[in-house]
Symmetry: C4
Subunit: 214 residues, 4 copies
Amino acid sequence: NLTVKCRRSEYIEPKQPVFNTNSSFIQQDSVGAFTPRVYAGYTIYKGKAALTIEPKAPEFVALDSGAYKVSKEGMMLLQFAPAFGTRQYDWSRKQVFSLSISEIGTLIGLSGSDTCEFFHDPNKGKSDEGKVRKVLKVEPLPDGSGLFFNLSVQNKLLNVDESIYIPISKGEFAVMVSTFNYILPFLLGWHAFVNSIKPEDSVRFNNANVEWSR
Amino acid sequence: NLTVKCRRSEYIEPKQPVFNTNSSFIQQDSVGAFTPRVYAGYTIYKGKAALTIEPKAPEFVALDSGAYKVSKEGMMLLQFAPAFGTRQYDWSRKQVFSLSISEIGTLIGLSGSDTCEFFHDPNKGKSDEGKVRKVLKVEPLPDGSGLFFNLSVQNKLLNVDESIYIPISKGEFAVMVSTFNYILPFLLGWHAFVNSIKPEDSVRFNNANVEWSR
Amino acid sequence: NLTVKCRRSEYIEPKQPVFNTNSSFIQQDSVGAFTPRVYAGYTIYKGKAALTIEPKAPEFVALDSGAYKVSKEGMMLLQFAPAFGTRQYDWSRKQVFSLSISEIGTLIGLSGSDTCEFFHDPNKGKSDEGKVRKVLKVEPLPDGSGLFFNLSVQNKLLNVDESIYIPISKGEFAVMVSTFNYILPFLLGWHAFVNSIKPEDSVRFNNANVEWSR
Amino acid sequence: NLTVKCRRSEYIEPKQPVFNTNSSFIQQDSVGAFTPRVYAGYTIYKGKAALTIEPKAPEFVALDSGAYKVSKEGMMLLQFAPAFGTRQYDWSRKQVFSLSISEIGTLIGLSGSDTCEFFHDPNKGKSDEGKVRKVLKVEPLPDGSGLFFNLSVQNKLLNVDESIYIPISKGEFAVMVSTFNYILPFLLGWHAFVNSIKPEDSVRFNNANVEWSR
C-alpha cells in the first residue's frame, strides 16, 4: 500500500453556495449568438453526509498578439455537507476543498489499496498562515467496496475543528475518475487550444511556421 | 471475486419503442441554424436475445440569472429483446432497465472476475411499490470470454415473471465501457459547462470573479 | 493466455486508394458556413510493411420527424502494404481489413499476453461466398515489446494467397487504442446525439417528456 | 521490468520561448467569426528544474477536391528549465525535446516499473548529423512515488553537455497521461475528421457512397 502526501496552499477558497447565481451569465459571442453559462456538478448522497464535486473554469488573459493563454488553471471544488435527517443535508455547514490539477491526477491514478492525503492552508503566505488547516484523506473502505473520503478542518480563527466522512462506492469513484479525465484538459485550457486548430487556418499558417523554425 | 449490490428505485421507466419518433425534433438555435435531433444506440445481437444500449439526455432548468443547471441527470437505457428466430427479435416483448450515473460507474469499474447486481422498483414511493421488481445481474462467463447480462423482471400487476440472458463478449463489453466513459460527462451536463468556457468571456469575467471571491 | 476468435462477414470492403479524392467534398452547412471534408489516419512504417488505420464515418438516415438515426455503423479500415525498398511501400499491392465496432472493442480490451483472431468473408451471403477468406491475427511479440499484426488473404477468384506481417510496438499499440477509444462513439453516431443536447432545448422539451412518460 | 528504446531524428526542434507571441493570431472563420489562437501547456515546478509540456498542432494541406489531409503530424514539446533559486527557473537555458506520436503512445502505455529511452538527433540527414545527441530517459523513482524524467543533451557544435533531471509524482504523471490521451487524436487531425461528419451531409453522401463502392 502506497501513501501519497501532498502539501499545497490554496489562495482562493470559495465560500458561495453550491451554485452561485447572483449575476447575469448570458454572453453574446462574436457571431451574435448567446452562450448561456451552465453549471456542472455531481452529488453523492449518503447517510451522514453528501459530497458535491464541481469543476471551476480556468481563467485566460489576452496577449498583445490577440492570442490567449491560461492565467490561472481551473480546479475541482469538493463540497462536503453533513446530514441532519434522512436525505437532508445542511449546506450552510458545508466544508470545501479545492483539488489542484496534480491532486486530481493523484486521484485518477489511485489504485485499489492506495491511500492519499492532501494538506491545504488557505491563508498560506498571508498574515493568518497556519490558522486554518485542511486535510483531505482518501483511503480504501475496510470491506474493499470503495473509498472513504475524510475532510478535516481545523480553523483557529473560528474555533472550528470538524471532520466530515463519506463512503464512496467503487461505482461512484469510477464516475469521479471518468469526469476527472474528461475535465482535466479543460481545466488546463487545452480545449480552447484544440478549438483553435482548423485545417483552413493551418494551410495559411504553414508558410509562417516554416519561416519561424529557421 | 467481489459482488457489488445496489438498490435504487426508478421514477421513470420508459415504455416507448427503441426510438421514439412521434414528435417534431427539428430545433432552431440562436444563430438561426437548425440542430436536428439524433438518436444514438449500440445493439448486440445474440442467439437468444438482443441488447440495445441508448443514452438518455439530462434535463436542464433555466435560472433567473439566465444560466442553466441540470434538473435531472441523464441515464443509460438498456433494452433486452428475446429472439423468436434466426436474428429476429421480438421488441414488443422487450424488458427495459435504466442505469443511473453511479450504476454506469460500477460497470465501467468492473474488473475481470467481479459480479454486480442492481435492484430497481419503478414504483418506489408510489402505491404500487413492491409490485414490480427488476434485477440486473452481470457476472463473468464461465469460460472467461466475457460477461453474462441477466435481467429478471417480476411484475405482479401483469403476472409476469421473466428472465432474459445475453452473453456479452469482452470486445462488446469494451465497447460499452468506452461509450459509457464518453457519455458520462454528457449525462451530467458537463459538456454544456465546457462549451460555456471561452477565453474571450473569461477575460471579461475575471474582474467579477475577484470581486466575488472576497 | 486467452484467444478470442470472431467470425464476421463484410458486406463492403473498400478498394480505393488510401484517401479517395475524386469528388467535391466541400459542404455548405445550414448557417452558410462551409465544412470541408478532412481525412484522418495513422500510419506505422516498418521494415517489411506499413499499416494505415483510417476511420470510416457512419451513415445516417433522416426520419419523418426530422430527426436522424444511424443507418450503418462506421468502421476502422486497416490497410497493409508490403515494402519494396527502404521505407518504400507498394500500396497497389495493399490488403485491407475493416474492423467492426465489436472487433475494435476486442483490440481495445486486449491485455498483454492475449491473442485474437478475426475471420472475414467479404462475399458472405453472395454467390461467391467462401471464395475469399481473410484472417487478421494479433498476437504478442516473443520478446514482449509489442504485438504482431498478421493479415492473411486467400482469394480463390484471383488465385491470391498472401500474408502480410507487421510488428507493432507497445507505444504504437497504445496510440491505436487511444484513437480507437476516441473514435468509437463517433463511429456509432453518438457525437451527433451529444451535439443535439442543448440546455435551451431541454427546457422546452421537458413538458413534452413528462407528458410522454405517463 | 521492460526497457523500451526508440531512435528517431527530429527535423524541427523549436527554439522559441515557451509561448511564441510575435505574430497576429486572430483568425476570421467562414461565418465571419473570429477564432483567437490559444496556448495550452502544463508546467511542473520542482526544486531543481521545471518541466513544461505543450502540444504542437498538426499541419494540413488542401487537396484539389477541396478536402484537407494532415501533411505533418502534431507533437508534444517538452521543455526542461534548470532552477536558479527558490521557484525561479532559467528558461533561457532550457533544453527541449519533441515527442512523436508513437513516443507519446509509449509514455501512455508505460506501466509501474517500466523504463523507456528515446534518442533524437535534430540534424539527422543533414551535414551536422551526429553533432547533437539528445536522450530522454524515463524511469521509476526508487521509492515508487513516481517517475524520473532525465533529458541529456550533447551538443558538439556548442560544446554543451547537459543533463536535467526532474522527479514527476504519480499524480503529475497521471495528468500527463490524461492530457496525452486527450490530445493524441488532435495531433493526428482526427478531430477535424470528426467535425466534418454531420448527419445531414451523410444522407446526401449515401448515394454517392453506394455508387463508389461498386
